[in-house]
Subunit: 382 residues, 2 copies
């Protein structure tokens, strides 16, 4: 049997400035590349396991999880395969099929899938719509009050801390207080925040928190973090009836391989970069202000930005596509010629991007490149 | 905040001859180390995704899954996080809480956990017990007949193709026929076989098959393979009601990162090594025969061996531990002095090991080392 050619190279994305927001937070620091080399083989972290992944002493997954719990302010931390698998586990442990959960209108599709796979009904807290798409904590209160009035029980409140469409940051503490006042447990999805900005699960009334190693914690995918407060540990970290040391929702062990080694190696790097979050926001604000100098370019979502993920409406670039011989591909190709990638081929009407982790000089170069392309083809625009 | 020292080195296990059966099949070939380097960052395989991991064209996860389906003879192949996650997904899709499933008495603990997490009742097909622990397909027939007579419906039959305690290979085709004659779907757990020996899911009446990339397919963990026949695709690969392209049991996407790149790079290597399975068995038979020359050493499980995982009873080595100044640690230490690792520190009464993937010369050296240690301390034995 002969295999197809799988094109197992990523040179373009590695060697160029990649603006894809999905890729900005997952770049490994050198020490994590070393860890990847050390732990590349199969079940590499399991050499010294005596039955529990989270208790392995060498490499010290145990010590790492203690540090991680400290870092995000939870009583218990576990690694899972990603934020979605963490959300599924929490819902599976604390809800029953047919239950109702309340979720923000900007929730990631995986929150919907985790609920659907668990047979749960979703009631949405609407965003403010165009152009801000803001999630107002007060809207959570209204939705919960409505459900209460109708006698409908809610078994979980979920908030997307920072959403992946607009990069809006929502006040987790306020939503957490509303959920707690209503006696409902609170799950915070930090896929786009944990590892980029500080997380204070205890301070924000968070019962369960999930993060994504590959999205925001400088780790090889797939890996995520699940944080659980003591009150819920018996449910979410319930042990098997038959195999008493094994945690049921983890199916015994989760991250049995290389990604957890990279996440461990990256933790000091993450702790350091989270302390510089303000600097990232400054760069993003500068980038937005430069981009908006281009005719018709407008940042969508809450203003001013509180996160590096930015969505732009770009009607000017779109109007060029009509007349350009390369049609909608021109933008991708012009950017790539300038060593910039991560905007999808053919996309010109709007796009999401991020300059997270780039130097001030690189951000300047990127903004300048967009301006240069706009100027080059201005005669083709409407 | 200062992190603990996580001991992120695996030099001992990488540089020595590692007999741990869990680690033998997951060693990466050089081309997969290269793939790991290329795809080390975060969501690295998702650059060219348009919504479905299994359809990504670059790297060609799509082409890879076609080849994988050919290789194991299934209609549909997906990557999952490991065999256990594949079993959970199948059970979740085809069973309802309270259902009964039939499982072999040598099943891996994760089969029990996948069932327990799904709220299923397990009825076991007992093994023959000491010393062979053989699973006889006829015993499946008896268990199913008994349940039928009691009017109890069975929603799934699971067989552990090769178990992890004794390395016994069970006739999947025979169990598959029994399940199919009873009209019950059949799940084959190939964590210890897929990637080591040929799998013919179609020919063996297998409806669902799971394999483990880190255990037996020369891939970085965590990754597994789930194979599904067409008849069950609608259930197991069901799409979300809300997000129509996303597969529910996969939570949209599974292996979003480095391990899938290593599994892809390893497939040609795996196809090649599976064709040399007979040679691996020959080495194992030689190893067993050499080991059994040592006083009292006895291979447990079905004889002659049909798989590289071997369990030995070693009362001779155990009796030395009583008098040895290093107690039970002497065996580990003597082996390590000879660059052999993978037998747990302190274990002398019995152990599991494997010489899978070692050269004939290395196998000879390993067997000779055990004999040398036995001879060195023979005066301390009872």
């Amino acid at each position: 049997m002969k295999c197809q050619d799988y094109s197992l190279s990523r040179k373009t994305e590695r060697d160029n400035l990649n603006l894809n927001p999905l890729q900005r937070g997952g770049v490994l620091p050198p020490e994590s590349r070393e860890a990847l080399y050390e732990f590349s083989d199969g079940y590499s972290v399991c050499d010294y396991c005596s039955g529990r992944l989270d208790e392995i002493p060498r490499p010290s997954i145990h010590g790492f999880l203690e540090d991680m719990a400290d870092f995000i302010k939870v009583d218990h931390a576990r690694t899972v395969h990603g934020a979605r698998e963490g959300k599924f586990a929490v819902m599976h442990a604390v809800c029953r099929p047919g239950d109702t959960i309340v979720v923000d209108g900007n929730a990631h599709y995986t929150s919907h899938l985790a609920a659907e796979r668990n047979g749960l009904n979703i009631v949405e807290v609407p965003s403010s719509g165009e152009p801000e798409y803001r999630i107002d904590p007060v809207a959570y209160q209204e939705v919960l009050d409505n459900l209460y009035d109708r006698g409908e029980e809610v078994s979980l409140v979920l908030l997307t801390h920072v959403d992946g469409d607009y990069g809006n940051l929502t006040d987790a503490q306020a939503v957490g207080k509303i959920a707690h006042d209503a006696g409902i447990p609170f799950l915070l999805n930090c896929a786009y925040s944990m590892g980029r900005m500080p997380i204070d699960a205890k301070g924000w009334n968070v019962d369960f928190v999930v993060g994504s190693g590959h999205k925001s914690m400088a780790a090889s995918g797939p890996i995520g973090v699940l944080g659980v407060q003591e009150e819920w540990a018996d449910m979410v970290l319930k042990r098997s009836d038959r195999h008493h040391v094994k945690e049921l929702e983890m199916l015994g062990c989760t991250s049995r391989g290389a990604p957890v080694a990279t996440l461990m190696a990256s933790l000091p790097h993450i702790i350091d970069r989270v302390s510089k979050w303000d600097f990232e926001i400054e760069k993003t604000l500068y980038f937005v202000s430069e981009m908006e100098k281009i005719s018709g370019v407008r940042q969508i979502g809450v203003r001013p930005k509180e996160h590096d993920l930015v969505r732009f409406e770009t009607p000017f670039f779109h109007s060029i596509a009509d007349k350009h011989p390369r049609k909608g591909f021109y933008l991708y190709e012009e950017l790539k010629r300038r060593n910039i990638v991560g905007i999808k081929r053919g996309q010109t009407q709007w796009f999401k991007c991020s300059v997270y982790g780039f130097s001030q000089e690189q951000v300047h170069y990127i903004a300048h490149s967009f301006a240069e392309i706009a100027s080059k083809f201005k005669d083709m625009a409407d």
